[in-house]
Structures are given as structure tokens and as C-alpha cells.
């Protein structure tokens, strides 16, 4: 039994490519080529070099001493927040831009919610000299002004998604429409392990550098490649996919996915897809998603713009349904408190997304010799105003 993808593009019953015929040639071109391209020695060399010299990998695996003391367990933080552009997102955009170049694409499009993936895409497009258009919900553009400014500084055009709820899911719709209208010269860099096959697998592979590093870093520190727990927050699920990847089939390692409960799971303002979602189709993938009884996709809510996606990637839907990963949900308030706590115990200000995974120490007990790894997916600079306002600091 494997928890990874099968040769038809499914994780168990989830995944596939539920796309209109207009997208078929683009997605098929990618499906036929992505593994071949990723296996080329010249690709690997360039990818590894950029991750090292440009992104700043390997990211440290840091033993959080004071946090560990407080919760009487051994907590390691995988410092993806120290990557260039401040989050794990760039691991994927570096990989995809190299794929796009090898497919001969000259124009890049992307969707973004909080703007982290948009910035990571704008960055690699500047690096490679490719035209870049990022779709962002009109409401998110207003909420995330610093990231909009960064994208503009990097030479990217930020186009507002004006339809629907004018947030991440609508930005994704607009990016998909752009791809339908520009099938030949354009590559769509999806930012999470969502979308039609092969995207969930391709993005997971690019993010898998996270768990690959954890294995050897932990070996150095604890003389084992296996932690007891790997914990990551899940919106679409790309940082979790990367942190889980090399442990998927090793059931000695327990996996915990942390979703955003928003104002409470049953408050009507939540993004806890595993609890509130049902099986269905979103953005070309069969997975769990929040929807009405009639099959209309509903709007999620979280204080964190990176977690308010109404679905999860198909890998996570499978991990949930099979019981391989434990899914927990954390409210806005619990996350904010955990973010403040990490800042003041360890001197690390986490992104609010990441604060959700840190909050589980208040909810779940670990033993003194458990090795617990938290994927510290992003830094909190973008969220400072939010924290300040929340705590009236």
C-alpha cells in the first residue's frame, strides 16, 4: 500500500484531471513531460544549485529549546521561513519555472491568495526574464498590499479577480481561464498541491526537498531519520505535502495536518475542510471540498489568507480518509496566541498560517522523548499588522 500517487494520477479515490477539453492539451503536455524533465541531469543540477545559492537551502532544522521545555517534549522547527521570499512557496516556483522553460513557454501565470505564492512566482519570473501575470482576488489585493507592492516591484502584472467572492478560489478560476485563452505560450504555475493531475504530484515533488532535508538533518542531531511526529498546516496543503513526502509510507512516523477552524468549526466561518467538506470536484481535482448540498462551492474563512481555500489537495483527502494522517483544527484565536508565544519564546515571528500548527501543543500531549517536527512554513512579516491589531500591541 502506498499513500503516494498512482500511475493514473489518483491518491486512492482522489485526484484525476476533471478539466474542460480546452485545457486538455496544456495539461496533457505537462503530464507527459514533467517526470522526464525532472529526471534530466541538467534540470536536477540547475534546480539544486538555485535552491542552494538563490533560495538559501538547506533550511535549518532548529531545536526549539524554550518551546520544548514549555511543552515537555522535543520540538524541532524546519525553518522554511528563512527561504528567500519568506516561505516554502519558492521551492515549487523554482521547479516549475525550470519546467516551463524546458517546455518552451514564454509567459507565466499564477494565482495567489495572501500573495506569498504570487511573490514567489514574480521572483522566479524576474530571475528568468519571463513575463508574469498574477491573478489575485480584489478583496485580497486590498488586504495584502505589501505583497502586491513586492510583485509590482518585481515587474509582475497583478490582475484583480472580480468574479464570485473575489478571493483565492476566484483568482484560481481567472488563472485557469487565462490558460484556456492562451494555451500555447503560457505555463500556469499553481501554488499548491491542488488542481488537475499532474499538478498535485509535481508540486509535492518540488516541495519534497523539505522532508528530504529533515531526514539527514535529524540523523545528525538525533541519530535517527525518523521523527515521531511531523506537523504542518494545511490550506491547499503544499507545505504539508513537502514535510510529509518522504514519510508517507513509513507509518512509524505520525503525520498531523492542521486546518484553520476560523471562528470555530461550526460557526459558519471556517476553513476546516476535512470536517466540513464532502467529496467533489474543485479546480479540476476530485477531493474534499466545502460545498452546499447542491454542489456549489462555498466560501471558507480563516484569519490567515493562506489557509482559506475551500478544498484540500487530493493527497491530503486520501491521508484523511485512510486515517494515515490525523487532522486537527485550530481557531483564529488559538493560532494568534501560538504565534505570539513563538515570537516571545524563540524570537521567531511565524506566518499566521504556521501559527496554526504551533497551536496544537495546547491541544495534544506529547511525551518527553517524542521528536516532534513542525514545518515552519513562513515568516510573519506580512502578518505583523494583523498581530499588532489583534493583540493591541
Amino acid at each position: 500500500m502506498t499513500y503516494n500517487i498512482d500511475d493514473k494520477g489518483y491518491y486512492g479515490e482522489f485526484g484525476g484531471a476533471y478539466i474542460p477539453e480546452m485545457l486538455y492539451p496544456n495539461v496533457e503536455e505537462l503530464r507527459l513531460n514533467y517526470l522526464k524533465i525532472m529526471a534530466e541531469p541538467s534540470f536536477k543540477k540547475e534546480f539544486d544549485q538555485l535552491l542552494k545559492d538563490y533560495v538559501g537551502r538547506p533550511s535549518p532544522l532548529y531545536f526549539a529549546k524554550r518551546l520544548s521545555e514549555k511543552y515537555s517534549t522535543k520540538i524541532y522547527l524546519k525553518r522554511e521561513d528563512l527561504n528567500h521570499t519568506g516561505a516554502h512557496k519558492i521551492n515549487n516556483t523554482i521547479g516549475q519555472i525550470l519546467v516551463a522553460q524546458r517546455l518552451g513557454k514564454t509567459r507565466i501565470i499564477a494565482e495567489t491568495g495572501a500573495g506569498q505564492h504570487g511573490v514567489a512566482t514574480a521572483t522566479v519570473c524576474a530571475l528568468m526574464g519571463l513575463e508574469c501575470i498574477v491573478y489575485m482576488g480584489e478583496i485580497d489585493i486590498a488586504r495584502q498590499a505589501p505583497n502586491v507592492a513586492r510583485m509590482k516591484m518585481l515587474g509582475t502584472k497583478v490582475r484583480p479577480a472580480l468574479s464570485g467572492s473575489r478571493t483565492l478560489k476566484d483568482a484560481t478560476n481567472e488563472a485557469i481561464r487565462d490558460w484556456i485563452n492562451n494555451p500555447l505560450d503560457t505555463h500556469y504555475i499553481i501554488g499548491s498541491v491542488v488542481g488537475p493531475h499532474p499538478y498535485p504530484d509535481m508540486v509535492a515533488r518540488f516541495q519534497s526537498v523539505v522532508s528530504e532535508e529533515i531526514q539527514w538533518q535529524l540523523k545528525e542531531k538525533e541519530n535517527t531519520t525518523k521523527p515521531d511526529y511531523v506537523i504542518a498546516c494545511v490550506g491547499g496543503g503544499s507545505n504539508a505535502a513537502g514535510a510529509f513526502y518522504h514519510y508517507l509510507d513509513d507509518t512509524d512516523v505520525k503525520l498531523i495536518a492542521v486546518e484553520a477552524a476560523g471562528k470555530g468549526i461550526h460557526s459558519g466561518e471556517s476553513a476546516a475542510t476535512s470536517v466540513l467538506g464532502r467529496e467533489g470536484i474543485i479546480h479540476g481535482s476530485k477531493t474534499l471540498l466545502m460545498q452546499t448540498s447542491d454542489g456549489q462551492i462555498t466560501e471558507p474563512y480563516s484569519i490567515s489568507a493562506g489557509l482559506d481555500y475551500p478544498g484540500v489537495g487530493p493527497m491530503h483527502a486520501h491521508l484523511y480518509k485512510s486515517g494515515r494522517a490525523e487532522f486537527m483544527s485550530i481557531t483564529d484565536n488559538e493560532a494568534m496566541i501560538a504565534g505570539l508565544e513563538l515570537s516571545q519564546l524563540e524570537g521567531i515571528i511565524p506566518a499566521i498560517e504556521t501559527s496554526h500548527s504551533l497551536a496544537i501543543f495546547e491541544k495534544k500531549k506529547f511525551t518527553a522523548d517524542d521528536i516532534v517536527i513542525i514545518n515552519l512554513s513562513g515568516r510573519g512579516d506580512k502578518d505583523l499588522q494583523n498581530y499588532i491589531d489583534y493583540f493591541k500591541l
Partner: protein
């Protein structure tokens, strides 16, 4: 014989109209259909609205969003249509995205369609291979024709495969675009229409996307059996009352 197949034997170019059920008002569905038939429209695609219509442009998406705000659901649409065959005899197709059908239950959805007298379905995001492996027998059990799309980028082999599993017509998307985005056809599209016509497929083709007036209708049907108008008709509906539908149809069929 399925009404779609019957209609395709007629010696004329077919005008098919798409609209979003529940737009402009929730209960306009039946009267729009009756008016369209009265004006001589050959076939109707009834759009089942969806919150996230990936293949549609702004006009159709806006009408879907409004229809959902008006309260449209699969159940309500079926309820509105239950007596439709007492007054309407042209082929009726439901066009919608897969998720609402999946939530209703694909078999239950098909069964309901047959009870009402729906002749076919167009589901842009139900992939050909998934349909072929999982749903074909269900559709056939309820005498529903599933209509597939092809585009200028669809390979010859794939067109042949789609032709082999189709039993009505092929929905030929005029250009690489979402709905409502073209303003007239150029040489490239004409060449594509001709290229497909020259393949001598067993299924006739009906062109959709980018047809908005008499001129584009004539261009599209030079080689194809018919054409579908969506966005332009929805614009008309948002400007003019339902009893003025004849003005629109006459402007295409003059």
C-alpha cells in the same frame, strides 16, 4: 429515436441557444424555453448554474451567479421542467459542471432527466475517459446523449476517439477561449471548421463560443451543422423582457 438525433436529420442549419436557468428571475426558465421554441430555435441548452464555471467568460458567469442568488438548484430546475414536454417538443440539453451532478448522484440525475424528457447533457469538466469508463452505461440506460467538446488544439487521434464514443453531435469550440470572448471569425477559424468537416466524422458538429450575430452564425455553419449562441443571448435577456426574445432570434435567422 432521441430528439437530438431526429433534429440532426433535418435539412437545415440548426440554431441552438444557451441560457442560465434561473436568470434573470428564478422562475423564467419555462417561459424562456417556450418562447425560444415559438421563435423557431432548433435546440436549447439549459445551463445548470455553478459557483465556479471555469470554461465560461464574464457574461455567463455573471448570469450563473445571479441565478444562484435567485435560489436556483438542481432540484428546483427539475421541478420547473417537470411538465415541459406538454408544451415543448424541440431537443433540450442540460449543460452544467460535474460537481452539482455528482452531489445529486449521477444516476439519480440521469433518471430525472429522462423522466422530464431531457435529451442530452453537456458537462465540460467530465473528462472523456472518466465518462467512458464510469458513466457511459448509465447515460445510455436513460437514453441521454452526452456531448463532448473539441477545440482547435484537439489532436486528430483524440477527435477520432471522441467521435467513436459520441452518438449525437460534437460540440466544436470555435477558438481557444472561454465563452463570449470572440468578435468574429478569421481565416484561422474558417480553416479549422473546414479541417474538421473534411474529417468526415460520423457525428455532425455544432459550433459554440464566439457566435453572437447573423454574420458569425453564417460563418460557423458554412461547414458545420449548426451553432450555439450563449453570451449574446444572455446579454439580450438582461436588456429586454422575455417576450422580446423573437427580436434576438430573428436577428440571427433573418
Amino acid at each position: 429515436m432521441n430528439r437530438i438525433n431526429q433534429k440532426l436529420t433535418e435539412d437545415k442549419k440548426l440554431l441552438s441557444i444557451y441560457f442560465s436557468a434561473g436568470y434573470p428571475s428564478l422562475h423564467d426558465t419555462v417561459s424562456i424555453i417556450e418562447n425560444l421554441e415559438k421563435c423557431g430555435v432548433d435546440m436549447i441548452e439549459i445551463g445548470l448554474p455553478f459557483s465556479d464555471p471555469l470554461a465560461d467568460g464574464p457574461t455567463i458567469q455573471a448570469s450563473s451567479t445571479q441565478a444562484l442568488k435567485n435560489g436556483m438548484t438542481s432540484e428546483i430546475l427539475f421541478d420547473q421542467l417537470k411538465g415541459i414536454r406538454n408544451t415543448v417538443s424541440i431537443p433540450l440539453i442540460i449543460m452544467g459542471y460535474f460537481n452539482p451532478m455528482l452531489q445529486y448522484g449521477v444516476e439519480a440525475f440521469c433518471k430525472k432527466c429522462q423522466e422530464i424528457g431531457i435529451d442530452g447533457l453537456i458537462i465540460p469538466d467530465l473528462p472523456v475517459d472518466v465518462y467512458n469508463e464510469q458513466y457511459k452505461t448509465t447515460f445510455e440506460k436513460y437514453d441521454l446523449i452526452n456531448v463532448f467538446l473539441i477545440t482547435p488544439q484537439t489532436s486528430v487521434e483524440r477527435i477520432r476517439f471522441i467521435d467513436s464514443i459520441s452518438n449525437g453531435f460534437i460540440y466544436m469550440v470555435s477558438s481557444a477561449s472561454v465563452t463570449g470572448s470572440s468578435s468574429g471569425f478569421g481565416d484561422e477559424q474558417t480553416a479549422y471548421f473546414k479541417r474538421i468537416a473534411d474529417m468526415n466524422l460520423k457525428n455532425q458538429q455544432i459550433v459554440g463560443f464566439g457566435i453572437s450575430n447573423n454574420n458569425t452564425f453564417s460563418q460557423a455553419t458554412q461547414y458545420a451543422k449548426g451553432a450555439i449562441i450563449g453570451s449574446a443571448f444572455i446579454k439580450h435577456l438582461s436588456d429586454k423582457p422575455i417576450h422580446k426574445i423573437d427580436e434576438f432570434v430573428l436577428s440571427i435567422n433573418n
